[in-house]
Amino acid sequence: MPGINLHGMWAIYRTEMQRAFRTVWQSIATPVITTALYFVVFGAAIGSHMQQMGGVDYGAFIVPGLMMLTILTQSISNASIAIYFPKFTGTISEILSAPLSAFEAVIAYVGAAATKSVIIGLIILLTATFFVKIEILHPVWMVAFLLITSIAFSLFGFIIGIWAKSFEQLAIIPSLVVTPLTFLGGAFYSIEMLSQPWRTISLFNPVVYLISGFRWSFHGVGDVSVAASLAFMAGFIALCLAVLWCMFRTGYRLKS
């Protein structure tokens, strides 16, 4: 008996990816249209009145923030629905009765959700190139940040999906917490532009660290240091894993 149920993980991953491919046009059209809209509103309408920001065009400046905004919300909603829906329909019992460790299930579900986010992030990047000229100074770091953020927030979404008891609860954290934090976290501006005390207060917003690190990988400048961004991400992932570990140990809201 092998120690890892690879077939089981693959079965979940594949099924989750198939779900996205069933609605492939919807999956692609949504980020493309949203991105185009942001460029029309922020890039063209506002950007034409703005000077350069941090040495780059405003249009190019907002690309990392825009990608982050979508990746955060998509990761959370994909991963939370992936686990909430089986809970809701009862198909979760098949997963619970399978020879699959909780950790393997997390890897499969979170892996699939993160994959979708990365793909959507790249679609946004591609769409953006039709509007502005984009240079990526540190492409390897860019990919690394993209991956880490997708994984971290898919983990977070997975936790929300386990915790939620209704569709309302499922939607509440993304719309009430994550989206505001992203808008206030410098997705469309540099927090350097803020006056005190707002600049200091912003440093307590975790999303600032994500966007700043990601922006640095594009343009070589960020609001906070890259080390701080990485440390934040590592801490966030560790926290999510710890919460999940506790949840699975007690069978929290999954097993009676």
Binding site: H7, I12, T15, G90, S93, E94, P99, G251, K255, S256
Partner: protein
Amino acid sequence: MSTEPTTPILSVAGVEKRYASGLTALAGVDLEVRRGEIFALLGPNGAGKTTLISIICGTVTMTAGTIRVDGHDIVKDYRRTRSAIGLVPQEIAVDIFATVWNTVRFSRGLFGCAPNPAYIESLLRDLSLWDKRDSKITELSGGMKRRVMIAKALSHEPTLLFLDEPTAGVDVNLRRDMWAVVRRLRERGVTIVLTTHYLEEAEEMADRVGVIDKGRILLVEDTADLMDKMGKRRVTLALQTPMTAIPPELAGWPLELLSDGQRLRYSFDTHAEGTGIAALLKRLGELGIDFTDLDTERSSLEDIFISLVERA
């Protein structure tokens, strides 16, 4: 040690379950199921059958006790025990957007088996699902969905199969198909544990039956022995001339008058020595009581079950 043929395929010891609501669903269950048998777990609604099965399969946690499948602890060695188990749950739950083929293939993978399209094809053919392989689950009837649940449970070739009320709301054809599948599985050495409310089914299919009520096992017995031991037989005579009372000459016999005195019923234990029918008939002849018809019947598992549960 685990491969010794004497090791029970399933052994449940001191299992208790108290739900978060405070309700005690299992109050100390001990049970052994033998390799290769068909075991029927019978009990009224809410007796704890589904709870026990869910604990063995890993979807519900137990409050106390130990369970071994083929000698392996279901908690410590869950990978091994769960790979060996197939479950057809009482409630149909299946990804309604998936196709029949995909959902069965998914289950096989989930349970750690390499893909085997030929096996899945034979499974779907056995369950008359082959024509529906590309249909979405939403497009299937309730009975077909149940067949899909069976195909999913068998997708990883389990050696211990749980059928939790597989025939509830199922038509005659599906029931017949299903029992054919069960018999074939048994021939291949698969152990089957089933629950059902159709007691004639248990009587016909099961090698042994266990009766559970209020979270306790009341009895476990060979089906045939149980019928022998607890079963009653009775002879009913249609009388030529109705009686108003049983004649005093027959006072020593366990007789009842039925249908306004038109019929006389004589009940006796199956295992009693000498049934006394011959003596009774002779006595009736001597008393000049004539009858036009004679009917014998055995009490069913259902009667036994009801008397057991009522007594508890």
